[in-house]
């Protein structure tokens, strides 16, 4: 297992491209990260990579504790091929693993040395197993796979057999006590003691419970206790699902690339890595979907139709001085029509006034909730009207009455859907504290309330509104109920609202309703930062980059974090980050009925060399600090 984790981590940070490794990704996979090693190795040379300190540990792990001068290059893995990490979840089982190219099988088994060969029922396949992990080799491609039946199913079958054998109350019928301490060996001992006490009390009152929880060995050694029975059921299901997947993959020749053209197309991209996630299948296989499917089959089918084609595709691009993640959210026309209306909102320029030009991090989100609601209503009501179920019919009536009676102008005027947020660093804020005063004559003490100071991250979060009167109405009402809430003209102040210690300010001006704990913003800049606000090119950049925009200047953000808020280890890590920081931005495209694109770009200074070296340096810094 440690090898799998080590390999996965390594490959995620590195990458491999196998000529046909992508042809062996099971159809069940709903999430795939495919790494193009050919492209990646042009940016990170294998010779440079193996020199890194963190690679020593990876290699030690790979070669079973002894590197013996061996490096990753001696692992037998074909670094001219792609590595595809996949995960899938069916109604009854999960499948995960990765596919990769093989250059030298003999060398490969110095890495996979705990795998035993088993006879393969499929011609042309070599089959190796180590506990629950299976290595399947076909030609020059390896598939490392793990198939796990869902625990509910295993328990259900194990219980059923257990009851049929005449036993009562399976072993896990009593709840385990929650761990009070998450990482403390002393306390683990306490938990064990506690469990033992609990079991004692359980069994004293009910001797049958002891017998069924831990069956006494019988004369017949073939008689299994509950846990052994459960393991057997698990094993049978593992074999069954593995056989199904292998049959589909290697005999019928089905795979994800064949069954999903969008994925196949994505694999042709010459980027360092591609990402695929099929949300529509995630929905179909979600827990509880079977209930929905059984109880409301027609509605289930309609919802599936609505979500069909809901696939997220992504590319990882390593440029010379930036790392880019391009994401494309695809969906069907019907769902797309709602997103299109939602994201078709005019940028609210008033938010720019409240973003300081030195703000280390901020985001804007512009949506038109009213339009999206109207469109969703048009789509959902006809679907529900087709259903003949009494509960759905009642829900539909509620929805229609709500639509008729509610004042949508007031509702969507108060909250239009657009919002923004800023992080303005950390400042000392005033708090009240108790001090003891001693009488010099007797040393009798008394308490005195004095002013104190504590560090607090400053934020502002604002919503666009056309109905200033409604928030004012609510706040006026609250202020009549409590003296903590007061109107100061340009802003409202609610004392002790945050962490029961510091005030929350609310600014209801310029078409925005803003919550902030920044006293300076409320008192001195209730109408915005004026000439200190973000403007010019930076403002246009926000405005022109779609319905969603985020900007984080890591160097400024980390610089403003107070050291006393973190442990030494965290500060060491932050120091390492301080030396290697850049600017991260999220921008979005115009939403169409078919898709919305997002770009996350992390830019860093030229002095760090190329992006591959930058990532490895960062990984290495973190590794060295965490040793």
């Amino acid at each position: 297992m440690r090898i799998i984790i080590a390999l996965t981590c390594l490959f995620l940070s590195l990458g491999i491209l196998a000529q046909n490794s992508e042809d062996f990704i099971p159809r069940d996979a709903v999430t795939v990260f495919s790494i193009n090693n050919i492209s990646l190795l042009q940016k990170i040379s294998m010779d440079d990579l193996v020199q890194y300190e963190f690679m020593e540990e990876v290699q030690t792990e790979l070669f079973d504790g002894s590197t013996s001068g061996k490096t990753l290059k001696d692992s037998g893995i074909d670094f001219d091929q792609k590595l595809n990490v996949f995960y899938g979840k069916g109604i009854d089982h999960e499948v995960s693993g990765f596919t990769f190219g093989i250059k030298n099988k003999e060398q490969l088994f110095t890495v996979f040395d705990d795998f035993d060969k088993v006879e393969s029922s499929i011609k042309g396949l070599e089959f190796y197993t180590s506990l629950s992990n299976h290595l399947i080799i076909k030609g020059n491609v390896g598939v490392l796979m793990r198939v796990e039946p869902l625990s509910e199913k295993v328990t259900e079958y194990a219980d059923s057999i257990w009851y049929a054998r005449g036993y009562k109350i399976p072993s896990d019928s009593y709840d385990e006590e929650d761990g009070e301490v998450l990482d403390n060996s002393d306390v683990i001992m306490e938990e064990e003691e506690y469990d033992a006490e609990k079991i004692d009390s359980l069994t004293q009152n009910n001797p049958v419970a002891l017998e069924s929880a831990f069956p006494v060995p019988t004369e017949d050694p073939n008689e299994k206790n509950y846990n052994e029975l459960k393991d057997s059921v698990l094993l049978i299901f593992q074999k069954m699902y593995l056989a199904e997947i292998c049959r589909d993959l290697f005999i019928k020749g089905n795979n994800l690339k064949k069954s999903d053209l969008q994925f196949a197309n994505q694999l042709t991209h010459k980027t360092e890595g591609v990402f695929y996630m099929d949300n529509s299948r995630n929905l179909k296989k979600a827990q509880g979907a079977w209930y929905f499917q059984t109880m409301f089959p027609s509605l289930y089918s309609e919802v599936n139709e609505l979500y069909s084609g809901n696939i997220i595709l992504g590319d990882l691009v390593l440029n010379s001085n930036s790392i880019q993640l391009k994401l494309e959210s695809n969906y069907g026309d019907v769902l797309g029509s709602i997103y299109e209306k939602l994201n078709d909102a005019k940028f609210d320029k008033s938010v720019l006034k409240y973003i300081h030009q030195n703000s280390p991090a901020h985001f804007t989100y512009n949506v038109n909730l009213r339009e999206a609601y109207e469109q969703a209503y048009k789509i959902v009501v006809p679907i529900l009207e087709k259903q003949k179920d009494a509960r759905i019919s009642s829900s539909l009536l509620t929805l229609e009455l709500f639509n008729e009676f509610i004042n949508k102008d007031a509702l969507f005027g108060t909250y239009k859907g657009s919002m923004f947020g800023t992080f303005n660093g950390i400042k000392k804020v005033k708090t009240r504290k108790i001090e003891y005063i001693y009488d010099e004559k007797t040393f009798e003490f008394s308490e005195k309330e004095v002013e104190g100071e504590e560090d607090m991250p400053l934020f502002a979060f604002g919503l666009s509104t056309d109905r200033k009167d409604i928030p004012d109405k609510i706040l006026s009402h609250i202020s009549r109920l409590t003296s903590q809430c007061k109107n100061y003209g340009k802003y409202w102040k609610f004392d002790n609202a945050i962490l029961e210690s510091i005030p929350l300010y609310m600014i209801n001006r310029n078409g925005l309703f803003i919550f902030t704990n920044d006293e300076d913003l409320a008192i001195n800049h209730a109408d915005g930062f004026g000439s200190e606000a973000i403007s010019g090119k930076a403002a246009r950049h926000i405005k022109n980059n779609g319905f969603m925009f985020a900007h984080v200047d890591w160097s400024k953000t980390i610089e403003r974090l107070p050291r006393e808020m973190f442990t030494t280890e965290q500060n060491d890590l932050l120091d390492a980050m301080r030396e290697k920081t850049g600017i991260m931005e999220l921008v979005s495209s115009k939403t169409t009925k078919q898709k919305t694109s997002f770009d996350i770009v992390y830019d860093f200074s030229e002095q760090y060399g190329n992006s591959g070296k930058y990532i490895l340096d960062l990984v290495n810094s973190i590794y060295v600090l965490s040793k």
């Binding site: 306390v187 030494t568 500060n571």
Partner: protein, 226 residues
């Protein structure tokens, strides 16, 4: 069992909070009876504590809810009340400013000492305490001796610069009061009240962790007048 987790959590909280203020106040009457008060004031860090209380866990230690802390305080109070020679136990908890005040009367210092030791043992609060049979406090009519047991806290050299800075800002005050004037005392850092009936020792929490013996003292009283 929960008390131990709360104790562990509380220790962690104290090490993370700046300006923690602790004081003990021991009053001993001529007949050996007295009153013991123990206060912990975390009001300087209430913002940080409120932030921590909003978490599930901190540095691997589960953060208890205020309700759990309240019920444990009530449990310990009732346990303390049952101890021989202890009466009028009160524990005030202020969860707004995070101030905790414990007060009890005792018939003699041995009863107080035994009660505390029994609670510590029963609740398994301090596993590294060197010797529970050792006398922490003894009263001989004209002389009071306060010894501090060796409690293995995290050694100073293992503390981070940040933790040291926070602990240095914390304050520990120990006051001992009598019905008659104090004649002399051994601890040179002690400060006598103007009335000479009370003595105060003050140190910061960092120095105290470094050397718990800073609070040790032997106090000699003037002879009892008939």
């Amino acid at each position: 069992m929960k008390l131990k987790f709360i104790f562990l959590f509380f220790g962690l909280l104290c090490s993370l909070s700046s300006c923690i203020e602790i004081f003990d106040d021991l009053t001993i009457h001529n007949d050996g009876t007295g009153t013991f008060k123990y206060n912990i004031n975390l009001s300087s860090s209430k913002l940080k504590i409120n932030s921590i209380l909003a978490l599930d866990s901190l540095n691997g230690v589960k953060v208890p809810s205020i309700e759990v802390v309240k019920s444990e305080i009530a449990r310990i109070k009732s346990k303390f009340e049952l101890k021989t020679g202890i009466s009028n136990v009160s524990i005030e908890s202020n969860f707004t400013d995070f101030i905790f005040k414990m007060k009890c009367d005792f018939t003699n210092v041995s009863s107080l000492q035994s009660a505390i030791k029994e609670i510590v043992t029963e609740e398994n609060l301090l596993k590294d305490i060197d010797d529970l049979s050792h006398n922490w406090v003894s009263w001989e009519g004209q002389k009071l001796t306060r010894n501090i047991p060796d409690i293995s806290f995290k050694k100073t050299k293992e503390l981070t610069a940040n933790e040291i800075e926070l602990l240095t800002q914390g304050k520990y005050t120990s006051i001992t009061r009598f019905d008659r004037p104090i004649e002399k005392f051994d601890n040179q850092t002690g400060k006598l009240s103007a009335s000479k009936m009370a003595i105060m020792l003050q140190t910061n929490t960092y120095s105290l962790l470094q050397n718990a013996k800073l609070l040790e003292n032997t106090i000699y009283l003037s002879p009892l007048k008939n």
